[in-house]
Symmetry: C2
Subunit: 87 residues, 2 copies
């Protein structure tokens, strides 16, 4: 039981973590210091976690990684968009 509590709390932290970064990017439109590689790998990684969640039928893994995928993808797209503005 204690393990599951740690697991759920851990999942909540690492999922919620992307919210302040997404809000910061949305508000400031400043993204220069953020690594493209980090959010490219994170987006791919959480998509794989999401598929893994479906495969093992784990709802917490599915939900947590779906939310993180959306947030990470948003930051990744903003990174590409803001680093290469249309001239």
């Amino acid at each position: 039981m204690t393990e599951n509590l740690f697991g759920y709390f851990a999942a909540a932290c690492t999922t919620i973590a992307f919210i302040p970064q997404a809000i910061k990017v949305h508000k400031t439109k400043e993204i220069q210091d953020i690594s493209l590689g980090m959010f490219a790998l994170t987006t791919i990684g959480v998509l794989l976690w999401f598929i893994y969640g479906i495969m093992i039928s784990s709802l917490p893994v599915i939900i947590a990684n779906f939310i993180t995928f959306i947030l990470s993808l948003y930051i990744f797209i903003m990174k590409i968009k803001l680093d290469h503005p249309k001239t």
Copy 2:
């Protein structure tokens, strides 16, 4: 078997993801666009994942989150340090 392959590949991506960000911060010493909240929550979250890994005796969870913890903690400390330089 296919599930495990997805799981390991997912864990590799989300762990390796922090390396380019840590390198970028180390090289540029620029951290303004990075959210303090994101790396505070990530550091706490992966520490909890690490403890969870010990509890459930899962070596991949332990190793992946130990590496991420070190990288995330480094970015978090640099964020505090660079945002509040000694006068």
